[in-house]
Each structure stands twice: as C-alpha cells, then as structure tokens.
Amino acid sequence: MSHTTMTSRRDHRAGRLAMGSRALVPRARAARLHGWLFLSPALAAYGLFVLWPLITSLRYSLYSWDGVTAARWVGLDNYRTVFSDSALLSVLGHAFQLIIYFSLIPVTLGLIVAAVMRRVVVGRLGTVARTVLFLPQVVPLVAAGIAWNWVLSSNGAVNQILSAIGLGGITRAWLGDFTYALPAVGVIGVWVLLGFCTVLLLVGMSKIDPVLYEAAQLDGAGPIKEFLNITLPSLRQEIGVCVTVTVIAALSAFDIVFIATSGGPGDATMVPGLEIYQLAFYNREVGLASALAVVLMLLVLVCVLPIQWFVNRGDVRA
C-alpha cells in the first residue's frame, strides 16, 4: 500500500515536471518573440540608416551616375580608378597620417594623464579635471573647428604665445601652410579625442584591484613599474576600445577637416571623407564617390578587425 502510494506520488510529481517542461516551450518561444519585438525598432533603424545606405552605396559604386540623370553600368571601373588615381591614393595616405594624431597620441597621452590623475588629482579637483578634459566631446565639432581656425590663424592664440616666449620666428598661419596644415588638423584631433581616451582609461583603472598595487609596492615597485606591470595589462580592453574608436575617427575624418581647411591648402589636408563629399556633390561622380566610400569602409575594417582580434584573443586565453 505504502509502496503504491509512494509510486503514485513519484509518478504524479514526474507528471507535473513533464507538464512543466512542455509548458516551458511555448513560454520560451513567447520570450524570444518578445525579445525580437523589443529589438525590432533598433533593427529597423539600423537597417534603414546603416544597412540600406550601405547596400545602396555598393550598388551606386558599379554605375557612372551624376545623381540626377540615368546611370550607366560600369562594373568595377570606379574601383579601378580609385586604385590607379595617384591623387586618390595620396588622400588615403593622409588618412593614415591622421592615425598618428587621432589615435596614437591621444591613447598614449590619455594613459599618462589618466595614470597621473589617478595618483595625484583626486576629489573635487579630479572631477573638474575630468570634466574639462571631456568637454571637447560635448562641444559640436563644427564650433570647435571654427574656434581652432582662430587659434591657429596668423594672429591667433598659438602664435601670440609663441611670440611671447621668444619663438616669433616660427609663427605662421598653421592651417594655410603646406607642411604644417595636416599636423595642425591633427592637433585639433588630439584635443577632441584626448578627453575621451582619458576618461575611458580612468574608468578602467578604477576597476583594478588595489591589492595588486599594494603587493607591488611591498615588492618594491615604483610608479613606472606599477604602470607597466599592473595598469597597462589590466587596461587591454579599454585600450582596445580607445584605439578602435580613434582609428575609425582618423580614417573617416570629415567634419574637423571640412571646417578647418576644407582639404587645403592645395590638397595638403584632403582626406577620404572629404574627397567622397567633393566627388559626389561638386564633381557629381556619385559612382566614383561610392566606390571610394566602399574602399574606405573596407580599409577601416582591415585596420580595426586585427585590433579587435588582438584584444579579444587575450580574453579567450584568460
């Protein structure tokens, strides 16, 4: 009797469990459906504003089209022009030069500034310093470009300071000088991106376990050894994000260059983003502009994917 009772209870429980798992299937389906429902606005926006223009650009790049009249199929001719036109290739070269100013300097300086701020600038002063450094991210780039135009003009703040410290001999209209225009644009990039890198790296540093630093100090490590052996390896992810974002900013630069120099003097500061704009809207060569845009996108991927792979590889090992 008791055996029977126990068996029936077990069966009953098992039956309930089985029923429960059967009930879970439609519930999981419903949850998945809800997930897609929540995702759909973002997906629609992404499809409309990213994927569709991308597909359209790919299609345009295979045509010769002035943007208004009938287009003519030209196959890969536009791509051949991009890779054979020396002027277009030099424009790509400028983009790579900008990586030094938009990526290498802000990330390196950002690391130093963040390390110093973490140790020295604390409390309210730290908050103020972080806000000031981050401010260029908030200021519209067009306004920043105009302001820097004044700062770098022949009688601007930079030249006034140089003159005041006895370096009047090297003053010049920086943005109008063939040699210095691109570095001058790069300086604006440093100003814009330094704050972003510093704040991101500071956040990363705050996550490092203080015990590691205490241990290092007990072992007799100085600030530089601490930085090289604890801070730097711990910030791999943050540095990866900084480098990725800034390299993309360098390769696809447009607004700063457009406002500061419009690509001049001559072609000294012409970058792919601006060239695409000129080809499409001044020369009305929409197909060629689209081909250059596609090449630029591939270039960005070629540069950014290895960075991402390098950063994520460490995670897999860990």
């Binding site: 208004v68 287009a71 001049g264 003097p265 001559g266 001044y282 020369n283 009305r284």
Partner: protein
C-alpha cells in the same frame, strides 16, 4: 528613376511588343494633335498679347507663398522680396539661405527634388539645363519684352537645351543685378604713400612696391580653405595680357578654347612675381573671405581685389574711406576689363508658381523701388531695360565709383565671365588647390594652367 529602369528592364514578349507599338503610335498621334493644338493656342495668345502680364494674371488673386533658396550674406535679395511683399501683400516668401558652396553642391538635388524652390540662386547653369532642372524663360522673355534689355546682359544666362555652350540659346536664368570686380583701396593708406589711381599695370606694380617699402601690406587677399581668392587678381592679369573675349571663350566652353595660352602664362608669371615680392598678406592661404574683409576694414592693407557687392557695405561702414578702380590696362589707353556677372537666379522646372516668380523677376529689373534697393544695398548695376536710368547714388561714394567703372568696362567691351564658373567643379577641384600651390611656391605658373586645363577637359568629356 530611369537608372533603375535601365537595370531592371522587363522582358517583352512579341505580342506585347506589337501591342506596345500600337499603343505608342496612338499616344504619339494624340500627343501630336495635343502639341499642335497647344502650339497654336500659345501662338494665338502671344500674337494677341499687347501688354506684359499683370500681377493678377501671373500670381492670381488668392494668397500665394513663393519658395526661395538664396545665398546667405546677400541682403539685397532679402530686401527685394520684402519690398515685393509690401507692394503685393498677397505674396509671401518662404526663404531658405545657404552659403554659395552649399548651393553649388545642392542645386541639382534641390531643383530635382519633390518640392523644388520657385526661385533659386544658381551656380553655373549648363549642367542644370542639361539635366532639365531649369525652366526655359523664353516665353517670359517674349511676354515681358525683355528684348529691351541689352543682349549682352543676358548672354551668360543662355545656353543650348543640352547645356552645351553658353551665350546663345534659350534663356534659363535672370540676373537680380549685375556685378563687376576690380580693386578697392584704402584712401588713408593711399594718401600716405601718395598713390594715384594707376593707369597702367606698370604703375600698379610701382604702387605695390611703394606700399611694401612703406611697411604697408599692399594686397590683402583671401585664398584659404576651399576658396581660391587669388583668382581675382589672376583673371584681371589674364585680361591685361590677353583679352576679355579670349577668357569668355574658355568660360563659355567655346570650341578650341584653352586656358593654357602664352598670354595667360605671362599673367600667371606676373602674379607669381607679386607673390614672391611679398605683395600679398603672407597668410593668404589660411585667410577666408570674411577675414579678408575684416582685415581690410581694419586698415591692415592698401588694396583688395573684390567685387562691387561690397560697395554698399563700404558706404555704410567706411563712408568716404574706400575708393575703387578697374584693373589698369597693360598699356596706357588700353581696354580695361572686369569680371562681370549677373547675380544669377533661376526658376525650377517643377516650380509651383513659375508665372508669379517670373513676374517678380520682371519687377526686380523694372520697378524703381527694386532698382534702388539693388543699387543701394547690392551696390551693383540693376540691369534691366537700356532705357531705364540707374538710380542716383551719393556722389563720391564707393557705389558711385563702381557704377562709373561699370560704364568704362562696358565701353571697352571688357565684361567677362568668371573663370571659376567655367563648370561646376573647376573652382573646388582645380583652381583653388592650384593657386594655393602657386602661392606656396609649390607649383609653377605653367603647371597651374596645365592642371586646370586638364581638369576642364576631363569635366567636359
């Protein structure tokens, strides 16, 4: 869009093809009948017409809102629209303004878009006509009797229906006013070096040398960013060494015309001498137009090469302090030339109120109030019928000098189009980078002309 039609053309069966042919034939016949009928009606209307359209016939009796797309920084057109509304209160304006560079890039898309403006400031008209984006104004030319305007005034606004060659063919735009360029000078600085208005290029050279020796910047010129302002003195020198008509041949894409001529090479070499002698502000390659104006108005330079659109500004802000002269000829008594261009406005092919806009254009050219605004605010010749007088301006004012200079240039057949307007991309793609390189000593005069001619040919091919 026809591009899509090319790419996705459906397959047509034989039966469908026959049916299509029959339908097409029927459509052609009907269209022909309708066209003949319409042409006859139009001819009758033209023949019967004894006077210009009235406001009521052009704009109707109900309130109407005209859409304008204008160049920012030019108060004359804004004042004109305001005055028009004051006279005709049923007409309101909805105006969008942008810098000229933006208008240049936006023109095809704006005019071809779903809601094109009725009246728009235009860059070069050829490509827009080729794309059938501009209204042919010849019917209005007949109706309003614009044949009373000097033919040369409208020449730059005519092109063939395919947009090839400028100067002849239907009328596709009108000038709000007609500006010309030359040299403005600061009277106080001129007095300091004992300058008199030069009569020859050699005399101008001597003035520049004298100013330089006196520690005064001889010429302030903008040439920064996307603005090749060095083209102003360059084209004046080209006209001195060559002729206005040779330049026009190139600007208007006449057969065989080239910018790479011995005369233009001499002109470019002359400009290079000025650059090497330090006659320009050393930061010209970084100076934009507003900075040039601000520096000149602050008395930082003796001369600027600029246009009469600044006359009204000088009269308002520097009364009696700024003089103007046309570029002196190469030799005494030689013809003097000036870049002379209509402030070009056109009506979109798909404009909703084309007739009313044409009425406005006629009003601008003929109404005394409008002509006064054009002279006093625009500082330029109002154009219009040759019989109408130019409104009087204060004697001795800068505007009076630019208007007088216009008469001299006209007498010498020295009016010429602007080399930056030869086609839509020549200024940004060829002239600006090349004159900037010339200024920086990175390119020879010959290389400048060769590069520009190559870009000109590429754009035309």
């Amino acid at each position: 869009m026809s591009r899509r039609a090319d790419a996705m053309r459906p397959r047509v069966t034989a039966r469908a093809r026959i049916s299509l042919c029959l339908s097409a034939a029927a459509v052609v016949v009907i269209a022909g009948v309708v066209a003949v009928g319409a042409a006859t009606a139009r001819q009758e209307r033209t023949t019967a017409k004894v006077s210009s359209p009235t406001f009521a016939s052009a704009c109707g009796t109900r309130p109407v809102t005209l859409q304008g797309y204008f160049e920012s920084g030019f108060p004359d057109i804004t004042d004109l629209t305001t005055a028009f509304t004051k006279q005709y209160p049923s007409v309101k304006w909805k105006v969008r303004e942008d810098p000229f560079a933006t208008i240049t890039q936006d023109a095809p898309l704006t005019l071809g878009g779903p809601n094109p403006p009725d009246l728009m400031r235009l860059p070069t008209i050829s490509s827009l006509v080729k794309d059938r984006l501009l209204k042919n104004l010849d019917p209005y030319f007949q109706e309003y009797g614009w044949k009373s305007f000097p033919a040369s005034q409208l020449a730059q606004l005519r092109t063939s229906p395919t947009g090839v060659g400028v100067g002849t063919g239907p009328l596709y735009a009108m000038g709000i006013n007609y500006s010309l360029t030359g040299v403005f000078y600061n009277k106080a600085l001129a007095a300091k070096i004992g300058m008199k208005v030069p009569q020859t290029l050699a005399q101008l050279d001597a003035i520049l040398a004298k100013a330089k020796a006196a520690g005064i910047t001889p010429i302030e010129q903008f040439d920064g960013g996307a603005t090749g302002g060095l083209l102003f003195p360059l084209q004046q020198l080209m006209a001195d060494y060559g002729s206005a008509s040779q330049i026009d041949n190139w600007v208007f894409d006449r057969p065989g015309a080239t910018i790479d001529t011995p005369a233009n090479l001499q002109a470019t070499e002359h400009l290079q001498q000025w650059i090497k002698a330090g006659y320009f502000n050393p930061d010209a390659n970084a100076v934009l137009y507003p900075q040039m104006m601000s520096n000149f108005e602050a008395g930082k330079a003796l001369l600027i090469f600029d246009g009469d659109w600044e006359s009204g500004n000088f009269d308002a802000h520097m009364p009696g302090q700024v003089g103007f002269f046309l570029m002196p000829a190469l030799k005494a008594g030689g013809p003097q030339a000036a870049m002379s261009a209509p402030l070009t406005y056109g009506i979109a092919a798909g404009a909703k109120h084309a007739d009313c806009t044409a009425f406005f254009l006629n009003w601008v050219a003929t109404n005394p109030t409008a002509r006064k605004i054009n002279v006093e605010v625009g500082g330029s010749n109002p154009g219009g019928p040759a019989t109408l007088p130019i409104p009087k301006v204060k004697p001795g004012s800068t505007t009076s000098q630019t208007l007088a200079a216009g008469a001299i240039a006209a007498k010498d057949n020295g009016d010429m189009g602007f080399i930056a307007n030869a086609n839509g991309s020549i200024y940004a793609e060829a002239w600006t980078p090349n004159v900037q390189k010339l200024f920086a000593g990175q390119e020879t005069p010959q290389a400048v002309l060769s590069s520009v001619q190559a870009a000109y040919k590429a754009a035309g091919s």
